[in-house]
Symmetry: D4
Subunit: 245 residues, 8 copies
């Protein structure tokens, strides 16, 4: 607050203030240091990674996030389940659960801060959970988002029909399992960055998403980068980060 | 010969004779048992895998193959080099060396025994050696062969321009490194079998062709099968074998 | 229908019509684009991959497949369980469940379109589920199919007793776990293509089928190609595709 | 040219024309289809991947690139050596060789088309070749580029001293081998996208860059994406692509 | 006892006696040879690895450990669960269960034998179980222990705030999953040995802790050594062993 | 010598003496402790592993082995080259070099101490170096050895023709690369132990012998054990050890 | 029977008869070909691998094995559970279940056919299940068996105390998880063959037994061979096979 | 200097001064930031990692290190070759090259700062280069060092003869390739920390040191930690760091 008052008083210029805010400390919950400034620093929503945390822990972190009245950031819990949702729901009535992806959202702001549209393209039915995690994350972070599902490379005409959609996006997130070939084809059709997300779908030699991951890392399209297997959240973060530039 | 004479005499029917011939023994060269009947059994050319053999060994095997006057099979040496070629050339003047793929061919028959056309599709310049090994093998085994080079998935329009070529083939061999996505796209465009050959091109996370191999094994097109990394020869054998059905 | 009427009217030749039909679009179910033309394009049955889909999703796709009255294609659901079967059974009384392989079949046509016989050879008792998936798939796709079970390489005389069966097949599917050696031995005994399917049976250093997969990729028999671990369905697709040539 | 004339004549609007140009064909050199429009389509330089091509092949491609007078794109050859450089030098006097990274550049335009600054951060002396490949690629593609070398995580104060540099960049490329930890630390200090490039430096359990690659894919900073091991070129492409948004 | 009497009688010097004691045999429980001298030999607590043992087996070993009246060593059971704890609790009332890490402790001595302080640093909430196993082990072995949780590398300022804590420790145990970068940063800030423990947290390309393990083995800080994934116990043993020097 | 004199004097019984001799120390050469008793202890030849040692080191070790006049053990140097052979040859005129396998032999005894015959079976021409290493090792260790080359599983009739040879052996060493299937087939045909040696021949997915190694470890024949890739020497040691029982 | 009558009649010599018996066919149960002659051929017990088979299947195979009155072979079911045991128990009252290893035994013969003693050495408590599988298998196959448990390499004096036991065995089976170092130490102490069995105990970087497997394959003791992870049965088969020589 | 003058003047206490010195900056050579304070901070020698640097680069760094007159630190170049040595020799006459390990040493101080003795134990002849790198590093860092070579686990009596040496050391570095079992045995014999260094010796399934690395990470001795494959330098750093406590 002191910093912001200095800004008001004209002692500190807004950019300098923002810069200093980015270095400020964080609240200690005992089991997790809640970093309220991360949202501020990166202009993103507040996020909790649910997996490996108890419902009580998650609800505690969410409560701490909501307590700060000056913040209007959206809150996002990823990799949650119904037990975690029940605990969070008690903390905040507005919490919504998205069962396909296991995401909980608490929408506090509908402001659009991303400059263009983020398009999420996915290959098969079983890639939808990861695609939805990316979609919800990107929305909570203030982006206009569209999706294009079930457009795998073995039926290339399905994808080509949507060429217009592809060329209208500012950033594309491409979710695919199995051979992970979709980002290469999509990357060749557009001039914008493509964030590739391998998924752990498939069986046998898909090795839990490794085949798709390697395919994407070796993509012959030069506008493709890759995030971890099933990391729809991370892809949306990067896409959101690019979409604000 | 006895078997064939029995056939002439009407004691043994030709199919029965052929069947028996398929079980017959082979000539022993000391370091390698030359299996003259393999050619007969499978209707293929005589083949020597050059790598790991000395020029003298290869030339010896080739000489033994050529000695049998009743056979008019073509002779093929794969994974050879100039030193092996020099030794083979002394054995037979008609031997030709194909430096891109390291293949030596001795053409003794131009008979076309394959029923349709085999099309070889490859993705990048560095896949050409493997594609050429497949092309020469398929030709030596009596097939009409066409090729379509440099049609990677990141420039999908290049491939789609050749859709007619694709639909005219009876069997397709698809050679690709990096993400190995080409067979999935090609497989989705045709109704014939696609033999996928991963190549060891690329660097880093291509792991000497493993990325492409995994991509192909996980292909979402259901008419794709896979052979070993860089195994252009094997792909052509299977394609040839299918093309005679 | 317009295309087919043009054919009737003589404006479009049947092959050209077929060609155009192969490029036509598909029905959108929201969570999955049902590609009715894939069956037409490839002359195959309609197929749903059950794993990772809910019973409701699978039944919905099957219902959409059955709705098109002009099609008499068989319907196949792979990797299903009893809950999926219950949902599909409500959609169509004729649905049958095959518990060993988890396959659901709805037979609407008994037409044989494959030219020869497909033989399925498997090594051990635990390979039977994958072998049965291949068998049912090949049958649903209009092929005459035979099977030869429990003929592993450590008791080679069992296999050799069936040599006649082997030589009568037009395509052979070879299902094996552990060391995956069966396709090499079978491939050496016949002149037709052998589709090798590694299975995830075994323990320890079988690494969920990787040992068998590598063994098959390195097969010293040149008429062997490989599909993904446990992919009995894929092997049958390729075999069926070859058997129509 | 026809398209551009239509634009001049007012028949086609410039954006529509650009869109159509993006779909146009390419010149066929026999061994490689030179895709002149890729530069146009993506606003990038013309690029040849030198490794695995002969000097004659590379020089041929470069000559074809330079022939088109209407283009003023820079030309870049990556993974080249002195023999390739000698051949290219004959084609164009202005070609320069950068021995650390094996890059050849032919600068034909100094126009800056990127909106902000791309900062390249690298960890150790042995990461410099990859960092330089990224730096030259980004420059040739019309970006302002700065570099910050030898700022590994084990001496965190070196990195923190340059915090101002970090916060002034619009996109950051982070090149690191060994444990690949640098992108996580850098990602935590900035709010812009960080493209991580693992390098194959190190020995033993670095497994040719796999340790760094895995470290980067598992980065706990959510603004990090990853490209293939040693792929400085690819990182610069993506960064350049982002920097034009 | 004979040895100790010889010492009393002056026949054997204490160091020589200690030396001989270190080679003495052990008690045989049938399913496990309880090595009472290990505690003596290494000055450590008595330890049972609970995983893979039945509650009855663990309780039996603990009872045997407690029976020897002359020993005042603490007793530690790692990788236990509530069923094992119930069985141990019956054997000794003082047993305590620590559910986060699955550790059971029976404290019989509060003597501090370690010379300095052991500091345990961990990166994320999900690393806490392993960190706690290390913490309890180090305490039971007679060390002063402090902990510093949730100081990951993507928020480097959190770690730097605790620089004083870091420089006051005599040995540091650094627990981290994901990219495993924390030990490198910590190692660069201190001059004492850092024992790195990779954890199996994370998903996808974390490969159950392999990414973190490789990151730590490739650490660019030269005072870092590594123990097995999730081996908090082992790290504390080594730290304790160093802290007594 | 003292021990042996005690034997002569009747103080120590010969078996007791032998037992004690097995525990005796060894000669120290500075860079390698030559363990003369290993030969005595195991009744084997004296062996030097040549790879990674300089010619001077190898010759020094061989000289030390030959110096002990009371021993008549054969001497074997494995993984040697011509430079090592030149150095050894100076030490002992009788040394012979076997270029295929890189083995040097110095025969000092022709005594046959193995009870039965060891048969070495190998699959392809490129497996011969490893097979020869096994053959020479087994001979130097006092066994009757036969070999059967080029009997791969893809030509099963070649192997079956030699069934009699197989059933006459007391121990079989089976050398194979690629899919490593030979030991399973051989193991099923005999009732004696089969030592399987994977070789690093092949390419692509043979992964330097890993495919063959995994195949052999998963052998469905229960009389098969495995040694390291290319370890013909080790296989012969075990076979020799069994053949003396 | 005909063969044996010919023997009685003096037409066929006993060894020739035995030879012919070894090639005879087998009984077909539909789901599994019961190979009664395997027992005869290899002089072993009848064995069923229980895992992956239903209780009904296992009981059926066991019933078929017991039906042949002329055979007095012991029957062994490995990898069974209580449900399988219940089904087998109904077939034969004498069946016994060994819960540690999941082995079912039906003892029909107590004849000792092995010449010497087989010693089973294991490292830790969690290796006992695999050790017991080996022990029961070896006993059922007619061998005198002893065991030596909990003698890991980190307490080398425990092992050395049993040196006499080690030197009295004719074959040693060495069961160890974690670093798999026990076979090397044991192999160095004896002159007989050592069969090493890696176990899947351990966690983290033990990778389900891979660490132990690799350790054993790289053993520096030359009388060590290896079987698959957890394959106590296979180790006992080979040991038994050696012990009859 | 200012800081040290403040100390002299009594303004700053020595420990506080030392603390501040540890945070001070570093000299920039363009291609490498020479961190003179690392030596001061950690009390170690100045070190250059030679591999991947040119002779000119290494000599430049060494010259910069030697220029600071107030420092009397020893200088160490690891992974060097004769060409690097020639360049360094010109810079400083006192430089010595150790060809086995590729280490260059410039000794400027013989002060012993380590409190006890560091013992280096290695298993085989081919592990000596890594052991020597550890030995020279530890000496240059001011420790008393002894070595014990060629004491592998397959000849356990060799190691046990040196038990006294083992128990006299304050820290032990254990260098071993192949199965990497030595640290477990050594760790069980002593009560001090054991730093295990896997080496890349061996062949086949040693996978360049991975087998040894995994063996060491899974060591059943609880006083063992591990560094990277072939990292003799790192092991000596940690050992030295411990030896100063």
């Amino acid at each position: 607050m002191k910093i912001l008052e200095s800004v008001k008083a004209g002692i500190v210029s807004p950019p300098a203030a923002l810069e200093r805010l980015r270095q400020l400390p964080f609240e200690d919950l005992g089991f997790a240091k809640v970093d309220h400034h991360r949202a501020l620093r990166q202009g993103f929503a507040e996020v909790v990674f649910g997996k490996g945390k108890t419902p009580v822990q998650v609800a505690g972190i969410v409560r701490s996030m909501l307590r700060r009245k000056d913040s209007r950031q959206n809150v996002l819990v990823t990799r949650a389940d119904l037990r975690i949702f029940a605990a969070v729901k008690k903390t905040n009535r507005a919490a919504k659960f998205h069962p396909l992806s296991g995401v909980i959202t608490i929408e506090r702001s509908k402001e659009i801060t991303g400059k263009g549209k983020i398009l999420i393209v996915s290959a098969g039915t079983s890639d939808i959970p990861v695609a939805e995690e990316a979609l919800l994350t990107a929305q909570m972070m203030g982006n206009r988002v569209e999706h294009l599902y079930d457009v795998g490379v073995a039926g290339i005409h399905r994808l080509l029909e949507h060429r217009e959609n592809l060329t209208q996006a500012r950033v594309i997130i491409c979710v695919a399992g199995m051979e992970g070939a979709l980002p290469s084809v999509v990357g060749g059709l557009v001039a914008v960055p493509v964030i590739a997300v391998p998924t752990s779908t498939g069986y046998g030699a898909s090795f839990g998403g490794v085949a798709a991951l390697l395919g994407m890392l070796n993509s012959c399209a030069s506008n493709v980068t890759v995030v971890n297997i099933d990391n729809g959240f991370g892809a949306a973060c990067v896409a959101s980060c690019i979409n604000r530039l």
